[in-house]
Point group: C2
Chain length 457, copies 2
């Protein structure tokens, strides 16, 4: 009997092991049965992701190697140490750039649905499956994304991809400029306060066909010959102040930059339906490092000139990035309306930041902020609280007429209003960087708005 | 006894299953024990890689979906059908473009060492760990690659990355042009036959500081004012004819394009040590679709102007591509001198193609090819047979003075010599596309060189 018991136990164990080995593996998603050539890349990526950087940094696969062959932690500003656990004393809060790092935490939560394996032979060719170096599936999913969010009409319009909207800004300026050499050059203009990159880039790349024309207000007040060609940039919601904008010169060519017309930053009103619309993935998924943006273009001639520019500039956008952005957009679409909705995450995060900063600033007469009110949003189907990407801060004290410098004395690095051709009483604070950056901003603002500081000033 | 036998067998099986389940897994590299968030991406990539395209195509993760949710096969030219097994009748051999697809088979063999997992939160920031949007590790490995191959001296020089060498061509022209607005514009020149992209791109992007100046021969014969600023492109080995070239105008600024100065295509003589050197990963690893190239620059001022151009054009190169190219370069370095040496693979493949085409063409008086001889190569440390990227074919018959058209009638699509500003008796045949493209080229050439065809012509 004992022997029989042992035998049955053993047979049972056999069956159990057999099940584990052959059946379980075939049905369990996390352990694919025949992981072959992807195995070492997957193991390597998981090992790097598991490196502890104390929540104040992260390690990357292509980072500089520390001892032991693994990459070092790359720490958030003001944090240091091998695991980023140390906070530098007297480190200034750096809220200068529009680096969209507030979304990093989102993607760390969505690790499984956003990872992508690039095989060694992935799309080596100059050609893709679509025309003009575009991936068919990616273009399709970009149209779906606009449909799902309701922020732009893409039906019957052409789409081009750029290495960030940065590349597309000049490509569109080129495409909208007179192709006839005898025409007078187009004047590229924008309304104050405007994103400084438009001017910097146009000045560097200007040709006989176009050049920077200054601010719209300088033209509106002058007597303008009707022969002047304008290319007007309209950023809406605007960078830096988050306000909705319209063209003011009645220009024949307008580039609508909708970088911030997404539910993280703005209520979605009617879908935009303009002839030339510019978007950047940097401000949607937050992947600024991927350098991916797109333009939606109504006119076929403008589309073809833009595509020709992109072809001769870089022969299209990296196909590696095509694949990654497709995966990210698919993940964003799949999570729409659910607990993992990126727009919900983005709005919740920025709303909290805006409301904290607003509360702090309101407690003082030294500073003021732009006004935003709660508005109905077609995406959330409810009234939403404001959540702008930037605070457009004004120094109210008479003697602090260069606001950026006043903040710098208080250990806050901001972007001066002068760069936006606005009054230097204004300065821009970025609210879309890491949580550490924002927390430090609040900490550094605190003494500036407190009564003790006011008295000592 | 029987019972005991069954029991022992059963216990033995238990031990075996136990070993398989717990020990094997922990020590076998291909099956990581705790594959977590990378699991579904890895499974997905392997499923797509396993799609059967008959060796005449491949499926990609971001391809258009067929029934069943998996992407379709994307077939080589002239092949069709859901598994690319059908050959189109009367399909022309297309050897027009310099698409480096001959290396696809190499990377399919190196699947495990070349795959890379990109996490959802990989390098989202505008910044990288290096300056000017460069990855420190990637720049370091590019220098190691040049050291290992022995084709260029990078010590004491600066490196910039571009979205392919395409982007760098204009960036360098900009950087080498007079920055002083009162200077006369620089004339961008090249020697016939030259890569047509130099002219096309310069014409599109010309500014007040530079413009296309034509061929060097037109300047050498004219009386040139010493005040003329030249920017001379020197491609060596040259595209299309594979010959080593030197600058001819004594220009103050020369851009040495070393796209083909790699052991696949060329013997490696002394390492190049010029002030401005251009390289493209498209022709090294074969990843044209990744859009990655670099320039090695001696002068700090030129480097800074180039970096500024790249910053305002695209804010650097996709960080996704940084990661992938690093993995590819690491794999190439690791295999150096071994059985998986990519340069050995590349040279072997192109040597065989050149020798077959040469043999066929030599059998006829209708065509001739450029001459290459075996030369000592510092990389292989032996005399190597020629293996040029392109055949520069000449039509010898008096009546066939547009060679490209003569071939077109024989169902061969080539790139006309006229595009290189050479005699249209010449045309370029690309030898670096897929094996299918090359095989079809030979098949279509056969009747053209045969005596029957000659008589009927």
């Amino acid at each position: 009997m004992k022997l029989l018991f042992v035998l049955f136990s053993s047979l049972f164990l056999n069956a159990y092991f057999y099940f584990c080995l052959f059946l379980h593996h075939h049905h369990h998603h996390q352990r694919p049965p025949s992981l072959g050539w992807t195995g070492s890349a997957a193991t390597e990526a998981e090992a790097v992701a598991a490196i502890n950087c104390s929540g104040h940094g992260r390690a990357f696969l292509d980072g500089v190697l520390a001892g032991g062959g693994l990459p070092v932690c790359e720490c958030n500003k003001c944090y240091y140490g091998s695991d980023c656990s140390q906070l530098l004393h007297d480190c200034p809060a750096d809220v200068d750039s529009g680096d969209p790092m507030f979304l990093e935490a989102y993607w760390q939560q969505q690790a499984a649905s956003s990872a992508v394996v690039i095989s060694g032979w992935h799309r080596m060719s100059y050609s893709t499956d679509g025309k003009d170096y575009l991936s068919i599936e990616l273009e399709k999913h970009i149209r779906i994304l606009h449909q799902v969010v309701g922020n732009a009409v893409t039906d019957g319009k052409f789409i081009v991809f750029g290495s960030g909207s940065a590349q597309l800004i000049n490509a569109l300026v080129y495409a909208l400029s007179p192709s006839n050499a005898s025409s007078s050059p187009a004047s590229v203009v924008a309304s104050v306060p405007y994103y400084p990159f438009y001017k910097k880039q146009t000045n560097l790349f200007e040709t006989r066909a176009y050049g920077w024309g200054g601010t719209t207000s300088s033209w509106a007040n002058a007597s303008v010959s009707s022969a002047t060609n304008f290319i007007e940039f309209v950023t809406s919601p605007n960078n830096p102040d988050g306000l909705f904008k319209q063209p003011v010169l009645g220009s024949s060519a307008v580039i609508f930059d909708y970088a911030y017309y997404w539910p993280h930053y703005s209520p979605i009103l009617d879908p935009a339906d303009e002839d030339v619309m510019l978007f950047t993935n940097s401000k949607i998924s937050g992947h600024a490092g991927s350098r991916f943006g797109w333009a939606v273009i109504k006119d076929e001639g403008v589309f073809e000139r833009t595509a020709n520019y992109l072809s001769l500039n870089t022969m299209g956008v990296s196909r590696d990035t095509h694949l990654r952005v497709l995966k990210l957009i698919k993940a964003m679409i799949a999570e729409k309306g659910g607990k993992g909705d990126i727009f919900e995450f983005g709005h919740r995060t920025l709303k909290a930041r805006w409301s904290k900063l607003n509360e702090l600033v309101s407690s003082s007469s030294r500073f003021s902020l732009q006004q935003h009110s709660a508005r109905y949003c077609n995406y959330f189907r409810t009234i939403r609280d404001p959540s702008p990407a930037y605070a457009w801060l004004k120094c109210e004290w008479k003697e602090e007429d260069v606001c950026h410098e006043a903040l710098r004395k208080g250990s806050i690095i901001s972007r001066s209003g002068a760069l936006f051709e606005a009054d230097s009483r204004y300065t821009r604070l970025s609210l879309i960087k890491t949580q550490d950056d924002f927390d430090l901003l609040l900490k550094r603002m605190q003494p500036l708005v407190s009564h003790e500081e006011m008295a000592s000033s």
